[in-house]
Amino acid sequence: MSLLTVKENITMVNNSKTDIASAVHANNQVVFDTKDLNLWYGETHALKDINLQINEKEVTAIIGPSGCGKSTYLKTLNRMVELVPTVRTTGEITYKGQSILDKSFKVENLRTRVGMVFQKPNPFPKSIYDNIAYGPRIHGIRNKKILDEIVEKSLRGAYIWDEVKDRLKENAYGLSGGQQQRLCIARTLAIEPDVILMDEPTSALDPKSTLKIEDLVQELKKDYSIIIVTHNMQQAARISDRTAFFLNGEVVEFDVTDTIFTKPTDNRTEDYISGRFG
């Protein structure tokens, strides 16, 4: 489906920007509330005064050119950004009302509630079963029967169960790239998170595998809040409820996806979406 038809469909169904915005907003609780977030890598000011409210059980897309800070922002939400030793932040992010940048908020707890799927499929060099059971095991589940159930439920949840159910003991690296990525999504589901962060999850995949992941995201949003960073604007238009446009470390525009793609208020958003830069 081309961007144009997406736009047309969206425009036909929804005429008023404010209507949808309030409609979507009314149904959902805020899961992440970001206030005046600033982030530095050493001397580099990577995120500037970010203010964003991300709703529960929606798909929020983050778009923007390379180096605009979108991945950095995503990794701040589960504090993976702290793996870079020189990183420094100010401002506040609350997850369901709790301040997560506070050191007293145990990062292990945060990451159990906020799962992550990475750009490149990164299964462990272990069996398919052990990949899925990894999360539950580190959180203390030893019972074989419970683990079996979690593995099946997670693999079914990522729509990969039928493809792998007869080869659970085989190494995950025997799967195709698209299957590996769905395995990684299943692995994230196994820790039963509330939020799933996805960092360009389809950028390393072929179009067919990409579509499967996109369908999966639509299914997952019934139960999970999903925040997805993507380079692919059609993808953002197809699968997200809201879209944030990042540029040079700032949020230029954040609105209901339909509005961003049909009636952006900022010229820079329109330029980016129409392919004039980025």
């Binding site: 993976m80 490149k120 990164n122 580190i138």
Partner: protein, 294 residues
């Protein structure tokens, strides 16, 4: 106008091709030199040892009588010593590598430690012998027993094991530990379940190669005072002992007194070489069999 003149290029072509062939020949000669030296060495040793490696030689006790002398004592001494060296270097080496790579803050102190470890790997082995003599044999009053020899050789190869283990850890792709952290694993869980299993084949390969270096070391053992002749077999790490390279050393020196000792030395070299060959093959086997590809 063209910059390349076809005629000129054709004229120079033969010279270029000749240079190309000459360089190939030079590099081949460089390789050949090493191969020839090795071949001569093995030929000499094999010729000298023919007829001397028999059951009595392998299992017999040491003796001043060349006809009756055996190397079982030295072989057992070497094996017992490896039983000390292997666990000590594996535990200390891998432990140090994990700390330096995964816990230590990158900074001045870390880089000083790092540089020193690399330098220690280049310190002559006889210096480690003096260290072992001072600390283990004299200060700790162990005497020249297997434990003292093993600990001395452990010190000698520890830097090599550490550096090899560090490289193995560094070779584990970051996306694997990210996946683990991303699910709420602690650092130790990530190290134990993801990084160590992926790095272990590389660590073991490095450790085994270092071990085979320790087996051939003679200088540190002479310094800590391993005797020339010792009749009883060692039965534990607290016994006095001799080792294969020491045996070779003494028999070679004394071959001016008894000519047959040279043959005994050659036979011992063959046994030592076989031992090293087995160890190195094990290292290659582990590397090929267990190394994971991502």
């Amino acid at each position: 106008m063209k910059y390349l003149n076809v005629e000129q290029v054709t004229k120079r072509m033969n010279g270029r091709i000749a240079k190309n062939n000459i360089s190939k020949a030079l590099f081949f000669l460089a390789t050949l030199f090493g191969l020839i030296v090795l071949a001569i060495l093995i030929y000499r040793v094999v010729v000298d040892s023919i007829g001397w490696i028999d059951w009595n030689f392998l299992t017999g006790r040491q003796s001043t009588d060349a006809e009756r002398a055996g190397i079982m004592g030295a072989l057992l001494g070497t094996l017992w010593m490896m039983l000390v060296v292997a666990p000590v270097t594996l535990i200390l080496g891998i432990g140090t590598a994990i700390y330096l790579e995964l816990y230590a803050k990158k900074g001045r102190l870390q880089s000083i430690i790092q540089t020193n470890i690399s330098n220690l790997a280049g310190v002559p082995s006889i210096v480690y012998g003096i260290l072992g003599l001072t600390i283990f044999v004299r200060a700790m009053e162990m005497g020249n027993i297997i434990l003292a020899g093993g600990l001395t050789l452990s010190l000698l190869i520890l830097p090599i094991v550490i550096v090899a283990a560090q490289e193995a850890i560094r070779a584990v792709p970051g996306f694997l530990s990210e996946a683990s952290y991303g699910m709420g694993a602690t650092k130790w869980q990530t190290i134990k379940n993801v990084i160590l299993p992926a790095a272990l084949p590389g660590m073991l390969t490095g450790a085994i190669l270092a071990l085979s270096r320790a087996i051939g070391e003679t200088a540190p053992l002479t310094v800590i005072g391993i005797p020339a002749l010792i009749i009883p077999f060692p039965e534990g790490i607290f016994d006095k002992f001799t080792a294969l390279p020491m045996q070779i050393y003494y028999w070679t020196i004394d071959s001016s007194l008894v000519a047959e000792y040279a043959n005994l030395a050659a036979g011992t070299i063959i046994v030592l070489l076989v031992l090293l060959f087995v160890l190195n093959s094990t290292a290659i086997f582990i590397r090929n069999k267990f190394q994971q590809r991502f």
